[in-house]
């Protein structure tokens, strides 16, 4: 680690963690699963003078479903989400997304809160949770905040979180419609998605979220006419409208070594059609 000296703290409560964060300011980082932070520290692309580990803060690694909300503690791991019956039964799309990301070792250690705070384009949760209309719950010196996941991320690696604020939980409104689906495309198993899409359909249409294509995930409200544009539908004009809406939402698509902006916009349209069709089929029990 490229630092001459590192102060290490293991607070026993959220309040204690917040006090340390306020005291050390930008010199400190919270350590949750460490799956993004540790590589960055090892490689020297991020430098800190203090790490505040959340491993001993009670209550952060728990999942409950009550009062119409699936509540996921910030330190819940990807493997927890993939295997906990309460997640699979109430929100299968989220369990499947967690089960398909990165690799076994990373899923065992990486956390939901850590992934959201890292805000890497192409990560699973911003896309899936935006489509589900989920909220992030934070704590900070000015109290608690509830932020829609779709509004949490403002750019690649950038969130609306204040430097002295931390994510404590995510809530997903229940019940989740049966007509939902998630799809990721990456060139190598385990890499961040080049583009990923999640669709949640209801009687009024629904929501389509697209991640990876742009620096921040985008949400496309689906009208019933757009929903009719799934790949299995005979109407080409509705399909074209859906593809066009998805591509147009990705106007500021990323252009990098993985894919050109043009390719990402095209892929967003193709995957949008496929995922809306899949979501509809899931609702019919196919």
């Amino acid at each position: 680690m490229h630092t001459p000296e590192l102060a290490y703290f293991q607070p026993g409560s959220v309040d204690e963690a917040l006090a340390l964060l306020a005291e050390w300011g930008p010199d400190a980082r919270l350590l949750s699963g460490g799956m993004s932070l540790m590589p960055a520290l090892n490689l020297g692309t991020t430098r800190v003078r203090a790490l505040i580990s959340l491993c001993q803060v009670p209550g952060l690694r728990s999942v409950t479903a009550e009062d119409g909300l699936l509540r996921i503690g910030a330190r819940t791991t990807h493997a927890d989400l993939a295997r906990l019956p309460v997640v699979r039964e109430t929100c299968r799309m989220l369990a499947d997304a967690a089960d398909g990301l990165a690799d076994v070792q990373v899923r065992n250690r990486g956390t939901v809160g850590g992934s959201l705070a890292t805000a890497y384009p192409g990560a699973e949760y911003p896309t899936v949770l935006s489509a589900l209309g989920a909220d992030v719950h934070t704590r900070g010196p000015r109290g608690e905040r509830r932020i829609p996941v779709a509004k949490l991320i403002v750019g690649s690696g950038q969130t609306v979180l204040a430097p002295d604020e931390m994510i404590v939980a995510v809530t997903v409104p229940l019940p989740v419609p049966a007509r939902m689906a998630y799809l990721r495309y990456s060139r190598i198993q385990g890499n961040y998605s080049t583009v990923n899409v999640a669709a949640v359909l209801d009687d009024g249409g629904g929501r389509l979220a697209i991640g990876g294509a742009t620096p921040r995930p985008v949400v496309v409200p689906l009208t019933p006419a757009l929903v009719d544009g799934g790949a299995g539908h005979p109407s080409d004009s509705a399909g074209s409208a859906l593809m066009h809406a998805a591509s147009a939402a990705c106007a500021d698509a990323c252009d990098d070594h993985l894919a050109s902006a043009r390719y990402r916009r095209h892929l967003a349209g193709v995957l949008a059609r496929r995922i809306v069709d899949q979501a509809r089929a899931n609702g019919e029990g196919r």
Partner: protein, 163 residues
């Protein structure tokens, strides 16, 4: 800054004092002398540093050692049942030539042992998914897939034989 830790590694309780900057891999290699765990990339990609932490495999280069107080860790050194005998997964890797330079092998073995414990008869697809976090630059993976199948068969036979 250094912190004292109590950790159990391969069934043996240790009291160590680690630099706060240390990873779990560094603690195992430099503080405890267990150099079977290899460090390839320090960025969570290659999986050579895979160890079992409280029953789940992790990439030890990306786990901060100070968090390990009270943890139970298993490394490649504990996989073979005795000094003169290899684990069925290790024997299968030898028989199927599932290694060449051997650098990735400790991590591969840890991942395969974990995979077969959870899924005793995996398909090719399940093996690929189970080993997605482990890179091998020599074999092209085909011999590794064969070795996992061979190990699964041998473990199943051993199990039946022991009943």
């Amino acid at each position: 800054m250094r912190v004292p830790l109590s950790v159990t590694v391969n069934g043996i309780a240790h009291s160590v004092e680690v630099d706060t900057r240390s990873s779990l891999a560094t603690m195992l290699r430099d503080d405890l002398g267990l150099t079977g765990t290899h460090v390839g990339c320090r960025s969570g990609n290659c999986g050579a540093c895979t160890v079992s932490l409280d029953g789940d495999i992790v990439k030890s280069c990306c786990v901060l050692a100070p968090e390990m107080d009270g943890a139970a860790i298993e490394t490649i050194e504990a996989v073979a049942p005795s000094a003169g005998e290899l684990h069925p997964v290790q024997r299968a890797f030898v028989a199927e030539q599932a290694l060449q330079c051997g650098f990735c092998t400790p991590g591969m073995i840890m991942a395969v042992v974990d995979l077969l414990r959870r899924n005793p008869d995996p398909t090719d697809r399940e093996i690929r998914a189970g080993l997605a976090g482990n890179l091998c630059r020599c074999t092209g993976y085909a011999p590794i897939l064969r070795a996992v199948h061979a190990a699964a068969r041998e473990i199943a036979t051993d199990f039946k034989g022991s009943r």
